[in-house]
């Protein structure tokens, strides 16, 4: 290879590594302007760079390999690859066994593990075939060496179908939230009655009830395959899809990120679902850091925070349980006093609890509107809100436990002054 070719190769790899300094950038751009072969090579390299992670994943699904353990200490990994095929195979089995033993179950006393048909008390180890019946306190599965964790919400029913490099969980009912480290040529999939979610490395939530399954991705990407539709759809960060019992799969739509459900105190007093004609106002005047806002008090406004790995900037109110901020009913009007730096879509998500109390989450509804840049008041009526989660519509009088306000890039500076509920 000539010096020029070497230089081009290095510059292209640096460009795709986002590691070009200014003089190198100018040299690469000059080459690209004059040499069509250089442009072809850059386009080819960039496209391959995009597709290769998926190709590797698919290869790994069919033929697991030791490389899936790249998060293990380096001195174990690279010599193994350099060694003979026999050693490589031996190592794979060794690592696989380690991985099997690596998963830990962080559980409370109210979790039941059904193993070989026997119901046992909570324990810290799980094995393939175990069925977890999660109590009110929730539970968590941890793969500590690779940094993967899965939170199981109260009431969830999960079967561990497979452990090791290829992990497969079956979520029969309930909600899990997963923070998954890159799986290399291994895999992690969540099977539901309505379809399968395949993960590369990401943070996502799967929610299953009798009617449907909702998949929401906060970071990274997952591939979702419906039970009656073999064509997978890739769902990226900031997006969600819904799988219905009739086999219908919705198109990916902007994410409605759920604040974590708070555990029920069990002491709430049931109340009637009538809604008082009052005005409730949240915002700068009521803001306290200790309340748990997602947003920061800056220059007399609450400034939204960028959602990692997604084009969304978000402000979320503290969770108001068990009473709720207000009630959701047909007369509700939500007015938001805000400022944004660019025209964008404003989405307002209401987290709705059961009207009878008990801090029982019921549904999320969301309204969206295109808004111009600048300071403005935006009002949504009850009919503007549409259901975004699997399950029933919020009942009249449902308690609004929290509100999230989201904008999308290019808007990056979202400032809230007040959020008013009135009728």
């Amino acid at each position: 290879m000539s010096e020029l070719s070497n230089d081009l190769d290095r510059l292209i790899a640096q460009h795709l590594d986002d590691a070009l300094d200014a003089p190198s950038s100018e040299r690469l751009f000059a080459l690209l302007r004059t040499d069509v072969a250089a442009r072809r090579l850059l386009l080819a390299a960039a496209t391959q760079a995009t597709v290769l992670p998926r190709v590797a994943l698919e290869a790994g699904l069919a033929r697991p390999r030791a490389v899936a353990t790249a998060r293990r200490p380096e001195r174990w990994w690279w010599p193994a690859v350099a060694a003979s095929l026999l050693l490589g195979v031996s190592l794979w089995w060794t690592l696989r066994t380690d991985t099997l033993g690596d998963v830990r179950l962080a559980a409370r006393a109210d979790l039941v593990v059904v193993r070989d048909g026997e119901r046992t008390a909570a324990q810290s180890s799980v094995q393939a075939g175990d069925r977890l019946e999660v109590g009110a306190s929730g539970a968590r599965l941890d793969w500590t060496s690779e940094g993967t964790g899965i939170d199981l919400d109260a009431g969830s029913r999960v079967v561990i179908d497979q452990l090791g490099i290829h992990k497969r969980l079956r979520l029969e009912l309930g909600t899990l939230t997963a923070e998954v480290a890159p799986q290399g040529e291994g895999s992690l999939s969540v099977t539901t009655p309505f379809g399968v979610v395949d993960v590369v490395g990401t943070r996502f939530r799967v929610q299953v009830d009798q009617d449907a399954c909702a998949v929401q991705v906060e970071h990274g990407a997952v591939r979702v395959t419906g039970a009656q539709d073999p064509t997978p759809v890739t769902v990226g960060a900031g997006f969600a899809v819904r799988l219905a019992a009739d086999g219908q799969r919705s198109a990916p739509a902007p994410l409605t990120s759920l604040p974590k459900n708070a555990p029920s105190t069990g002491t709430e007093t049931p109340t009637r679902s009538t809604t008082p004609a009052r005005v409730v106002r949240l915002g700068v005047e009521t803001y306290r850091v200790s309340d748990g806002w997602e947003g920061d008090l800056v220059d007399g406004t609450i400034r939204g925070r960028a959602v990692s790995g997604s084009p969304v900037t978000r402000i979320t109110t503290p969770l108001h349980r068990p009473d709720g901020i207000d009630r959701f009913d047909p007369a509700l009007r939500v007015t938001i006093d805000l400022t944004v730096d660019h025209p964008t879509t404003l989405a307002v998500l209401l987290v709705c609890d059961h009207p009878e109390g008990g801090a029982r989450w019921l549904a999320n509804v969301q309204a969206e509107r295109r808004i111009p840049a600048g300071t403005q008041q935006v009002t949504f009526r009850a009919e503007d809100f549409a259901l975004t989660t699997a399950g029933p519509q919020p009942l009249p009088g449902s308690r609004i436990a929290a509100v999230a306000m989201m904008t999308w890039l290019p808007a990056a500076d979202l400032r809230l002054r007040s959020l008013e509920f009135a009728r």
Partner: protein, 188 residues
């Protein structure tokens, strides 16, 4: 056919174009190629992925401007180019970026070479990757599956950074030749 010249504009109100579901399916089917095009322009994987999401949001809003499924690749490519140029404007404050003329040249090269169909392209890449030697596959895995930077790989393997850069691009060149041959139907 409308080109999304300004994301701030409301939908045109056209009603005879593609419905949202169909438009999104078409765009998501083109995802690997569009992401590759975006990444060639901006370099950074993260920025390219963000731009693709912006593109999906744009399609959700403006799907009615796309007359039919056949028009989706051209529409989305122009939209991707527009979004990438806007992103480059921002990045230009931090580092040198491609100018519009160079982006146009890249787009023209892409069109002149014929945009491949995503599925045959992916299938060809799978086969071509299988033909690479073990160490080459491992290197690509470290780079793109484990998402290590070339500097991290060099440190991990104890090899010069420049060697990693050059080797990876040579692998891309080799894969590119193999893919083109397979897509032509040549016996590889």
């Amino acid at each position: 056919m409308g080109v999304p010249v300004d994301q701030a504009d409301e939908s045109s109100g056209a009603t005879d174009g593609l419905d949202q579901e169909t438009a999104l399916r078409c765009v998501l089917a083109q995802e690997p190629l569009l992401l590759g095009f975006l990444r060639a322009i901006v370099g950074s994987r993260q920025v390219a992925e963000d731009l693709f999401q912006d593109l999906v949001v744009l399609v959700m809003r403006k799907h009615a401007e796309i007359p039919n499924a056949e028009a989706v690749p051209g529409w989305t490519r122009r939209a991707a180019r527009f979004l990438a140029l806007k992103a480059l404007e921002k990045r230009a404050r931090e580092k040198p970026t491609m100018d519009e003329t160079l982006v146009d040249l890249l787009e023209k090269t892409w069109i002149d070479d014929g945009e491949p169909e995503p599925d045959p392209y992916v299938a060809a890449l799978v086969r071509c990757r299988e033909r690479l030697p073990e160490h080459a596959r491992e290197l690509l895995t470290l780079r793109y599956v484990h998402d290590l930077s070339c500097e991290q790989i060099a440190a991990k393997l104890g090899r010069p950074l420049n060697t990693i850069y050059v080797t990876i691009t040579r692998l891309h060149r080799s894969l590119g030749e193999c893919i083109r041959a397979r897509l032509r139907g040549d016996d590889v």
